[in-house]
């Protein structure tokens, strides 16, 4: 079974983002970039499926500029076998990305696509569901467990009320939630090996997909600041403030 893992390059999880002076987006100059954490969990899951003998090959793919090859290499250092970059100058949006991924799926014929439920930049939470729709495949979103057996993927999903388990015919699309696994750290020899793994580059034109954005960002502003209040000295003072000043308890 071949597993395809789409990944995204984003501002590193630990960076405190700032809105840029033009209010057109956030500051990206001299900012550390990494694989989106949810995508890293997807790579880890695919690699574990391979280690367990369930998957035979793990292919990582990203849609973006040339520099995104860095994130493909990082994914290969975690154990993915090869990478595919779909090159684009546009700031690709979820529907366009899903269309590009559909073209890659048609080329690669994986039986399972595992990807992050959302990226921590745009936080759209759309690509996996859109890809599943375009392929006509079933989807298991926000997964905290995946079992592959007898041609089905049994997926436990983190939902508002608790957990829901669904059984999906294969091929299928699964999106990862935080508690699916804890990704390993890449070891130095594997980082070196990853540099020699195959990486193919296609353009959107090669795949005949339209990546033109449909949603325009008019402006980006910082959120309203919440000011720090006061420190109280005791539980009694706290209760008094809540009753008589904030009036949120009776």
């Amino acid at each position: 079974m071949k597993v395809l893992v789409p990944v995204k390059r984003v501002i590193d999880y630990n960076v405190k983002v700032r809105v840029n002076a033009e209010q057109s987006g956030v500051e990206t100059k001299n900012v550390k970039m990494s694989i989106n954490p949810f995508c890293e969990i997807a790579v880890e899951e695919a690699v574990r499926l391979k280690e367990a003998g369930v998957a035979t090959e793990v292919v990582v793919v990203t849609v973006g500029e040339d520099v995104c090859q860095e994130q493909l290499r990082s994914a290969m250092a975690l154990g993915a076998d090869r990478g595919i970059l779909v090159q684009t100058e546009h700031d690709a949006q979820p529907l366009g990305i899903a269309k590009a991924l559909k073209a890659v799926v048609e080329k690669e014929q994986p039986e399972l696509v595992v990807l992050g439920k959302q990226s921590i930049d745009g936080e759209n939470n759309q690509v996996g569901q859109m890809l599943a729709a375009l392929l006509g495949w079933p989807q298991g979103t926000f997964a905290s467990n995946i079992d592959i057996a007898d041609g089905k993927a049994q997926v436990t999903r983190e939902v508002d009320g608790g957990l829901r388990t669904v059984a999906l015919n294969m091929p299928a699309v699964v999106t990862t939630d935080l508690r699916l696994n804890e990704p390993r750290y890449a070891k130095l020899p594997n980082i070196m090996k990853a540099k020699k793994k195959p990486l193919d580059v296609f353009t959107a034109a090669d795949l005949a997909v339209d990546l033109a954005p449909r949603v325009k960002t008019l402006k980006v502003v910082p959120p309203a600041e919440r000011k720090a209040g006061i420190k109280v000295g005791s539980v009694a003072e706290l209760v008094d403030k809540l009753k008589n000043e904030a009036k949120v308890i009776a």
Partner: protein
């Protein structure tokens, strides 16, 4: 403008999040609520009674019994093509189904909308709420998910819409429901509770979370947890408050032993009053708390319970 809103329900009650989505929808045009499921006469009747709803469509079929996204998105795309906007609450169901419906309509989706500027322009948080973006969609049909904290709930009574049964059946037969593991609780839902008390890593173990029960009982509060506490196994996943968990906006949020990672603060910063109890005076949570108490939570929490 005509707006189709997907109705969600739990235990035979139309959900609060849907009532918030209806409020957003009313700002865009005439509202039709779509009730899909099996034996959903009661829900359709509740939907028809919601203030400001013009019409209710009831798709009653086994194919929609478990809100499976494959079938539901096909239904939404089928019916939605006659509307200017297709909307759902940004719950895990909405997040599951709507992007799939959007792709079938060849539309983008604007996720987690917190304000409607006009028919094609919407406001939404990005980067864990560290930036607020205004986005304009050029698609013919706008597909949106609505974050409940951005809109008040529409009144559940006062409307009198007609219910039309529809027989559009989409059964892809590619997935099936296996089981739900839902914690039964007498407490309110996190996303609609007016008071929430949450515990963090400093709670130390799952047993200690019971310390929060007394205060929750007295205040009629929901109980939440930080991601750290959920990851450590102290609390179930559906208690998680924060960027990747539930976004909440109660009147009173009490954070016990929560350090205040930006992802947690992103999920609580619209609360009216935030109280933080933490033994570390430099904890980031104090930067957003209206009332901070530097104390050992194992002393302060029982004391607070006794004082209420």
């Amino acid at each position: 403008m005509s707006v189709l809103v997907l109705a969600e329900y739990h235990k035979n009650t139309l959900s609060q999040a849907t009532l918030c989505a209806v409020t957003a929808a009313k700002q865009l045009g005439e509202v039709t609520l779509l009730v899909a499921g099996q034996s959903v006469d009661d829900i359709a009747a509740q939907a028809a009674a919601v203030d400001g709803v013009s019409a209710v469509l009831q798709a009653d079929n086994a194919a929609y019994a478990d809100m499976l996204p494959e079938n539901l998105s096909a239904l939404l795309a089928d019916i939605g093509k006659d509307y200017s906007h297709v909307i759902a609450a940004a719950t895990t169901t909405g997040k599951d189904v709507m992007p799939r419906a959007a792709a079938l309509l060849d539309s983008s989706q604007v996720s987690d909308v917190i304000a409607v500027e006009n028919a094609d322009t919407f406001v939404r948080p990005i980067y864990a709420g560290n930036a607020i973006a205004t986005e304009q969609s050029s698609d013919a049909i706008k597909v949106l998910t609505i974050r409940s904290t951005g809109f008040d709930a529409s009144a559940a009574e006062g409307g009198g819409a007609a219910i039309t049964k529809i027989d559009n059946i989409h059964d892809l037969g590619v997935s099936n429901f296996v089981k739900d593991e839902v914690a039964e609780s007498e407490r309110p839902e996190l996303t609609s509770a007016s008071v929430i008390i949450s515990g963090g890593r400093a709670m130390k173990n799952a047993d200690n979370f019971k310390l929060l029960d007394g205060i929750a009982d007295k205040l009629g509060a929901a109980i939440g947890a930080s991601r750290a506490a959920v990851d450590e196994g102290f609390a179930p996943n559906d208690w998680q408050v924060g960027q990747t968990g539930k976004i909440v906006a109660p009147d009173l949020y009490i954070a016990c032993g929560i350090s205040g990672a930006i992802q947690h603060i992103a999920g609580i910063k619209d609360s009216k009053v935030i109280v933080a109890i933490n033994s570390d005076p430099d904890a980031a949570i104090f930067e957003v708390a209206d009332y901070g108490l530097v104390a050992d939570l194992f002393e302060a929490v029982p004391e607070l319970e006794a004082a209420l």
